[in-house]
Symmetry: C2
Subunit: 266 residues, 2 copies
Amino acid sequence: MCQLLGMNCNVPTDICFSFSGFQARGGATDVHSDGWGIAFFEGRGTRVFLDPQPSASSPVAELVSRYPIRSMNVIAHIRKATQGTVALENTHPFMRELWGRYWIFAHNGNLLDFQPTLDGSFMPVGNTDSERAFCWLLQEFRRRFGEVMPSVDALFAALHELTLAIAGHGEFNFLLSNGDCLFAHASTRLSYIVRQAPFAEAHLKDQDLTVDFREVTGARDRVAVIATLPLTDNEQWTTMPAGTLWRFIDGAPAGQQATRPGPPRN
Amino acid sequence: MCQLLGMNCNVPTDICFSFSGFQARGGATDVHSDGWGIAFFEGRGTRVFLDPQPSASSPVAELVSRYPIRSMNVIAHIRKATQGTVALENTHPFMRELWGRYWIFAHNGNLLDFQPTLDGSFMPVGNTDSERAFCWLLQEFRRRFGEVMPSVDALFAALHELTLAIAGHGEFNFLLSNGDCLFAHASTRLSYIVRQAPFAEAHLKDQDLTVDFREVTGARDRVAVIATLPLTDNEQWTTMPAGTLWRFIDGAPAGQQATRPGPPRN
């Protein structure tokens, strides 16, 4: 499979520390060596860095881990190919524009027999199940809401319905953002942590690297980091229950919906 | 204004040499210091590197000038803002998807009173005349050709008509590619060179840097480089007449159309 990393904050924050640990999983401490990518929102703009090389040895990943890009919403992905060849066009995260906003999407999982009807408004460039799901999500958003972006509440409700429809096809952990907030679906496996005052030290699992957040944060800063598996070994991460869709705003969870039917009753 | 750089080749080629000279114009040897960007097609995928910082001092530009990404179609831009603030969302080149292909666009010029009706299928994220023109071009492509990408001849003919309509609003030098070929419009100022066997040495204007293409090319390689102003001082560049739309395929010009009416007659 793949691994996901997301960040949602209340002030523009760099992700260099978390990315350093995540990057190591792409071919060094773990097997996800079929490419990687990271997208940063900066205002309405986005920067997407992609590399079909393993992140552990990618010069672009090296730049990203050292060059502090401050962002309020970040989505990163390291790939272990399931569907689709190892190629740039199959490297996550994917980007499209809808309602004059960029949308960024990354997926960890495997969807079987998911061949929705696409009307041409958003078409996959590569051949992954992931990009197909992303295109269908945006198509359905537009079909429901027309030409004006709705409230984040309305978006979240629609995303919940659409996620239910896709999740029936298999494992569908994903991160999605339009720069205003970050949606996260724990289909099988996703964890998060919220860092806020009082800040402390954090130590990476995948590299012997420690940061003292007291030295690099302001009193009101709040940062949520979401990852397939916890990135640090001395902090308390929250496991998101399988079958939950979350939204993160201003560095904290702000709503949750179940995406798995309860146990059968009679 | 801004400066454009494009490359179209018959084999995947790196642009490190040309980009080094171009990069210096973004704040070192010239005044284009309101951001820069470069997009590489690799197969159907694209990599877009953007930085609202001057290219002459950008760590991302430093990476791009040293990391050989091999591509058959490249579009780069350094910006001197005319319309739109200095911000990431206004940094060229712009990217959209149409017909399951990525499209990349960069513009040098200034369009006045260009406020086309946009139907929502492609909407600007920033506030430049350039992104507005790009969105309108793609919308009109889709309106004409429906859901399947037409032949490159049909595209070129449509682009010619659409360019005529936009060019009436002002200076409209642009580069556009879907990865198959590169379209270039010389509204006022654009030059190109085709490098092919027998290869020779080239020396940059903007940096004291020489490359001997005999050492880095194969006998059948052919590379067209298109730039606002020639990048080397010991080669013969061709000035593209003002009011001409070109297409480049496999490293050479392959068609040209006038976009300026002839002198008035009576």
